[in-house]
Amino acid sequence: MVGTLILWGCIIWVVPLMYVLLRNEAKWKKNIVVGATLPYEARQDPEVESVLRRYRRQLGWVSLAMLALVVPCLFVSRFSVQFILWSVWILVAIVVPQISFVLTNMDLRRIKEERGWHKRSSAQVVSDLAAAAIPMKWISPWWFLPPLALSLVPLLLDREMWVLWVADAVLVALCYVGYRWLFRLRSEVVDENTDLTVALTRLRRYNWGKTWLWIAWATGFFNLGLCLTLEWFWGAMAVTLVYCVVVVVAAIGIEFRVRRAQERLTADSGKEFYVDEDDCWIWGMFYYNPHDKRLVVNNRTGVNTTFNMAKRGAQIFMGATLLILLALPLVGVWMMYEEAIPVELRVTEEAVVARHSGTEYDVPLEDIESAQLLEEIPASSRVAGTAMESVSKGRYKNGEWGRFTCCLDPRTGPWLLLRTTEGEIWLFGASDSADTQSAYQAVEAAR
């Protein structure tokens, strides 16, 4: 049950997050509401107001339904089935609230057409020369070096897990790459007011750098915290939880601060000339502009960026992301298959052979120095391999033996511990305890 709660606890926050983000879209920012650009007069239009009220209500009900769906899932006992439900639920929790957004966006665009508020085509682009002339002051890469150095400290403390520490350090380095190359240097033109454009442009640029610097520092501390608590499961879990909370809270906090500022700064905009790029935004959500030569574009509100779907690179990236998300439930199917297969253990004329699914471990009899039958296994942590209810296989480690290789069914005992002349340690245990017993006897007889 604890595993189940952790599994769902990792993702359940998606629902309130989607709710607050999407609900915030119903507030006017840069003359845009729920992805539709409308003039100032639309803010008092009764039909627009009614559509927005319905949107907020729909979001509330959808979010409640998503949370209610989790309750029956908690009582499913098999982990693989649980994982399938979990992965399907993520997709549903992300997609369904967006449907409300799309439907509302379509409603608003219909009203826009009916009222004659639609003026521009996707073939038009507006730029403010004064704002475009402001040079971007990029944060120096030196600011990203302290968190990078921090993330490399674990290499001095624990050489065994160097792959993990280096991978985390690469993540910190990628924060600078993301900051520098996932941003579009474009002025935030809303209307003819250059001062407003300059203020909005500076606001976005400053907060974009701040977000990435926050994430870089949080990742650096996470790496160090993980290194210090790796042997203690709950400590490592707590560090991971704190890291996720810090990153999400920092990113969302900055996003909302920017949105609030955009809302405040453009509260009086849209009375005369205003920029309308709706024709470039499919459903107010996906940017598609074949005239735009750039791959990365800034979202119209907030601080985030997105891709120009008219570019081949963006189509490949989004397609691959979608495929990965849709394939996630298939991992659960594979887990069901793995769970169903028993762990086999037998002794041939030459070796002890443990097998599970497509994995096989052979220990030559002549190399075995000692064999021992264990009734209990010391608490161990996985280095690389599989850890499921019905099977543990791969490289593990614990304080008593150090690193060892195992292939066993943790639900049944006893387990066969083999030590070789070369100092290797192997731990085997068949799903059928009788097989483990007879393997032990065969090994003893052969020695």
Binding site: S121, A123, V125, V126, L129, A133, P135, R186, H291, K293
Partner: protein, 124 residues
């Protein structure tokens, strides 16, 4: 000053950039000494190729509307002393428009009145 490009127009993009900057200078929206965005910055802002902006700036430089150097970038040129001669293409273009107005049925007085009206609008 706002630059508005229309990708559906028959007028090439670099020409639209050039024309609007010239109109901005004439209307006083761009004053002498005012810095224009760097070529790459404007291309990034508009989502067009750097070469397109470069071509527009090159034409503006040749026509004497802007000046550029490595330190200051591209700036609107201060018109000192004698104004540069009107380019031949502009005179030829004006002649063509006059012919079109005559063929459209306007007489000399009507053409001059129209020109005066347009000049007044520009000054405003």
């Amino acid at each position: 000053m706002l630059l508005q490009l229309d990708f559906d127009s028959d007028i090439p993009i670099y020409q639209q950039i050039r024309n609007q900057i010239v109109m901005g200078i004439a209307a006083g929206q761009l004053v002498p000494g005012e810095r224009l965005p760097a070529t790459r910055a404007l291309a990034e802002d508009l989502g067009v190729n750097t070469m397109t902006v470069s071509k527009a700036y090159q034409q503006l430089r040749q026509e004497g509307y802007v000046a550029s150097d490595r330190r200051t970038g591209v700036v609107v040129r201060q018109r000192e002393g004698e104004a540069p001669p009107v380019p031949r293409e502009t005179i030829d273009g004006l002649r063509l428009r006059l012919c079109e107005l005559r063929l459209a049925g306007l007489d000399r007085a009507e053409i001059l009145r129209l020109c005066e009206k347009l000049c007044d609008e520009e000054v405003r």
